[in-house]
Amino acid sequence: MFGNQEIMLTEKKLLQDLTPEIETTGIRWYITFLLFFLIFCVGIYALIQQIEKGHIVTGMRDNVVWGLYIVNFIFFMGLSYAGALISGVLHLFHTGWRKPVIRLAELLTVISLVIGPFFIFFCIGRLDRLPFLVIYPRIQSPITWDVIAISTDLVGCFLFLYLALIEDFAILRDYSDLHVKPWKKKAYKILSLGFTGTEKEKKILSNARNVMAAMIIAIAIIVYSVLAWIFGVTLQPGWHSTIFGPYFVIAAVFSGTGLLIILMWIYRKVYHLEEYITKRHFVNVGVLLTIIAAFYGYFTFSDYLTKWYGSIKMDSMLIDKLFHDYYALFIFANYIGILLPCIIIAFPRFRTIRNITIAAVIAVTALWVNRYIIVIPTLETPFLPIQDTRPDWIRYSPTWIEWSLTLAGISVYGMLFMLVSKIAPIISISEMKEEDKIEIMK
């Protein structure tokens, strides 16, 4: 009986700590949201310009037909698959320290997956032909594989997130001291599906979550491999590689882990979650980042070594371009971006929360640059000497339109995270409650 009372007290503390952000909204939240919204508006203006005048307003031309949009698409999709892999693995293997960070990983998955495909829409010149992909699908086209894969993944990730949220919605529905607007209360009531926490309900939910966790791990690997194969199955220099599938998956996990650390730092700081997201979590995710960085570095080295040693004319031209025209970006993406996070996290005396976050920022930025130097230099190295192609048509540089839409994507990303944190607790109350319950029982 004493134990039960203690559990109730723990739940109360958790609710007291984690619900204020749902109940009240400060001026800082509004200012940040407004800032994101203004950036988003600039992006909308850029999009109108692009639709009105056509893709001539972008830096893309006949040779470089994939620019910043595709770079962003691969990057965001990578973040999403990484989030799915991390949350799936953490859930399935019941990793002890996962509980305060798993919700962030789940949100990372779904929000990235919502943002990513928009960059494909920006890249398509004839948006009116988009329904043809569904009306006249061609199974033999990797683009069709990708459409099927992304839509399947989107449904799966939403389901997984929803399954994880049901218990929390039920807790919030039943929390009498929660001072929120009636529509929110009503929403919790509907979304919790009447979940009351009986053993039977818990078992059904747990089974469904386990199945979905296993499923989203498999889907994340397959779907990101499909995206990598869009590049790998073409005969373009730099893309036609058998290791592109696993290489992309590892790179995705690398960036996703980095972003998870950044999100942990932001939420810890803004929502004062120091008690829940501790140094231990940063170190654990940081070590994961270091291990993945080592694998990612190995794949990068293998890929470029074989291309360089093979000395196929086009591959040599590409590598020459990477080491001359893209020298700074190449060094940053493939040397600094891999080695520096490893060094920061590998040495215990550098392992502070701030340093690990800096390492994560470097890793995420470097991976975006890596995506850039995978997409652009290859397209700048055409197989055929195309006539009447001016040098500024071959050499790609993004315009303000592309940068605006990129920033708009990032701002919507931020806005979605801000909005979600106003509806659902950013740390899973049900998972934390379970953890405390076990500790008290012990």
């Binding site: 033999q140 449904v155 599906l193 309900e201 939910l205 499923m215 055929l384 195309i386 315009t399």
Partner: protein
Amino acid sequence: MKRKIALTLLFLSLFSSKAVFSYSQKNPKISPYIQFQYFKNNEENSILKTTLTYSKNRMELPLTGMKIAFFSGSGEKTRLAEIITDDKGVAIYNLKHDSDFIADNNGLWPFTSKFGGNDTIESAISELLIRDVTLNMTLTEMDSIKTIVVGAKKKEKGKEVPVSGETVTLYVPRMFSLLPIGEAKLDETGSSSVEFPASLPGDKQGNITIIARFEENAEFGNVEKKSTLKWGLPSAYSVPPGHRALWTKTAPRWMIYTLSILLSGVWGHYLFAIISLIRIRINAKKKKVEKKELFIK
């Protein structure tokens, strides 16, 4: 001290307002680029082509609907025509009459292209001096080696003299563009030969077109000669059985099977998760009814 500060502020405000005023007065005109070219095709027809563009946001954009005046002769020029630029900023004049070609003392044809400008665009002018050239191309097989022999003669003081030291570029048209197959540097006799590559595919009968060109030549402009003959490899394209391509009607069976199995597996699991959600909802409803019944009792 206060006076000094006031004077400084006054001076700064006057200066800055003047700067703003002078800036607003100056509404800079667009500086156009004018490209003026001479072309002579296989049928010996000559044209003058002017392309009028301007630069905006690092992009070269056409100036459409602009009046371009073409002139021939030096000193006192003869107006040939006025042509309006099309949507690509291009104005073309077909040189037809003898009066179009007025030679100067050196036997060169001076041509001028002029854009008069308007309120927003500056005027632009470009001149060309063209010497007439006769380009020949002979295709022969010497010791079973297919050879392209090119020759060129120009008119100087009423006489035809060989063109030497100039380069003629040779092409073969392919699906998307012209494939360069060689360059012929003309010797003192005004001719040169280039071996034709034996491995180029032609059409079904092996027909292939060969093009010889003076390109952007400072003296002759752009001059072209082309000829078609059976020097290519016949390319009777037949689809091998089991051939896979993006344009084939159906996907390979293994692909359809794999995708179907994968998708059924994944969506089957989704269905399980959705059924679980429905079970939770049903269970909750049942419990609510039971509670109500218990309360009534």
